[in-house]
């Protein structure tokens, strides 16, 4: 039969498809409306809010001390980081001095948390792209960190591990030795992950030159954390505006050169090494003393507003808090969520790439929907 020449063989209309909200590679309930030309992404619209629980509204109706619990539920794979950012903001409002030992232990907890979060990221990112082994390796080491946290504060994910003015308790006996043992294991295993991925041809094909964003664009669009550093901007809140005990620690801020998915991978891997370095230093120089300063039972910061930022594993987590000086809860509490700001760059990153790369790019910006939607 003669082909019908009048009708074109392929329809070149653009196709609009939904990725999510129920999709295993979107790391939660995230919906992306993709406009496709064949397999190429022309445009994307990110639809969020499926996990909105009104944390900011709830905070206005809770005690200052109760809000630590709510911050646990923002980034639920790195809850200690959000705890720390919140309590430090309140301490800034109260102009409260935190004991040096507490600041050191906070630093250790924050860095352990960074390792745990980066392990989850590496495992799930690699699995999204097809390397299942790395996922199993990473979760194996993360389990050790969760055990350490469980021994410290009794919880494995939602730690409630900080208090306004210090810490709920001192370190358990021999905990520091276990952490040092873990550090040795982690350094050894990092080599294993690199053996599996860094020079792997499939990994290189899937990540190199995918989602390139220049330094100027990254700053303008508000990227923060490893995605910003992957583009070559040496911005790290721990270095630029030191908090906890970071001013007394020696560490490097790794930056990428090309701003692609591969560079962001390298940056995070190097950050894990630096985290181990910080933990070893903090444990080596751990000062003696109390872990809690004198705090009134009823916390009522004086009237005023402040913004304070920390470097969470995902990027710059900030709290803007307004206190009216009268009530026992904040007048307004605003979370500046790093995942939210990084996710905003996704349409810019995916344009021109293939559908399969969208998965790699969701992985590379490392979002947690609990924090995006709050």
């Amino acid at each position: 039969m003669e082909p019908d020449v009048a009708r074109p063989m392929f329809d070149t209309d653009e196709l609009v498809i939904n990725m999510g909200p129920q999709h295993p590679a979107t790391h939660g309930v995230l919906r992306i409306v993709l406009k496709l030309d064949g397999e190429k992404v022309v445009d994307a619209d990110v639809v969020i809010g499926y996990l909105h629980r009104g944390v900011e509204k709830l905070s206005e109706n809770r005690d200052w001390t109760q809000i630590v619990l709510l911050t646990d539920r923002l980034d639920y794979v790195a809850s200690a980081a959000a705890n720390l950012a919140y309590v430090e903001t309140v301490e800034k409002l109260l102009s409260l001095e935190v004991p040096r030992r507490a600041r050191y232990i906070r630093t250790i907890l924050a860095e352990l948390q960074r390792l745990a979060s980066h392990l989850v990221w590496l495992g799930s990112h690699a699995m999204d792209i097809g390397a299942v082994t790395v996922f199993l390796y990473c979760l194996r080491e993360r389990e050790l960190i969760l055990d350490l946290f469980e021994e410290y504060c009794g919880a494995r994910l939602t730690y409630n591990s900080m208090r306004i003015g210090g810490l709920p308790q001192d370190l358990p006996p021999n905990w520091d030795k276990k952490v040092l043992q873990f550090c040795d294991i982690q350094m050894e295993k990092l080599v294993d992950y690199e053996t599996l991925l860094t020079h792997n041809r499939i990994w290189l094909e899937r990540t190199r030159n995918i989602g390139v964003i220049s330094a100027a664009d990254a700053v303008a669009v508000g990227l923060c954390g490893p995605p910003l550093r992957g583009s070559g901007v040496p911005r790290d809140v721990r270095k630029d505006e030191p908090y906890a005990a970071y001013a007394e620690m020696e560490f490097d801020v790794p930056v990428g050169a090309n701003g692609d998915t591969y560079d962001r991978y390298l940056v995070r891997l190097e950050e894990m090494r630096q985290s181990v370095r910080i933990i070893r230093q903090a444990l080596g120089g751990l000062p003696e003393g109390p872990v809690m300063s004198k705090v009134p039972r009823l916390i009522k910061p004086p009237a005023g507003e402040t913004y304070h930022a920390n470097e969470s594993p995902k990027g710059e987590i900030g709290f803007f808090i307004a206190s009216d000086g009268k009530s026992t809860s904040p007048y307004r509490l605003r979370v500046r969520p790093p995942s939210f700001c990084n996710l905003q760059a996704l349409p810019r990153l995916v344009r021109g790439h293939l559908v399969a790369d969208v998965i790699a790019l969701i992985g590379t910006i490392d979002i947690v929907l609990g924090e995006v939607d709050r």
Partner: protein, 214 residues
Amino acid sequence: MADTEHTDLASPKPAVASKVPKAPPPPPGPPDPAPPADVPVPDYIQALQSALPGAVTQVSYWVGDWTVIVATPRLLDVARHLRDTAGARFDYCSDVTAVDWLARAGERFDVVYCLYSTSLRMRVRMKTRVADGDSVPSVSGLWAAANWLEREAWDMFGIRFAGHPDLRRILMPDEWQGHPQRKDYPLEGPGELMLESPQDWLELRQSFKEAETE
């Protein structure tokens, strides 16, 4: 003050127990204290004041944070000055949010911009006051990062950003009525009685569905 300091441990925390019956009266606004005499005003704020006279209505300093309070019509001028001038270079927009000062007469909302300079490593906050129903010029043309942040401020507070390319709700569903972060919005949600008209709601829902299938 004295009696609240010595709260008995056995009795529940006062804020929780007495939340509904006795809430303190809402404050009329933030204190925005002027900088004390021994704290010098940074150069970039002085330069801003001399370059754009009258645009900055107030400078405030509190626990180490500098805030400039800006007249809403001059907001974009100030923002551009802060972003582009040597010595300021606030090229990174950390956060855009709002505060609802319900009891303040006239201008009810504060819109707060947290800016950071990646080259000079310093922060400043820019604030402007806006009445309910009025709009604020959008800064998303200056900092692309402000796009979603302003959408969230619209969604949560109902503040319009004039010139925003895509001012839709972001966290709440598209057909939602009301703006949840406002102080007069109930914590438990609107409830059935708060709906202006359930019939309107259903029709609105239907129209969104039709728009989606088209």
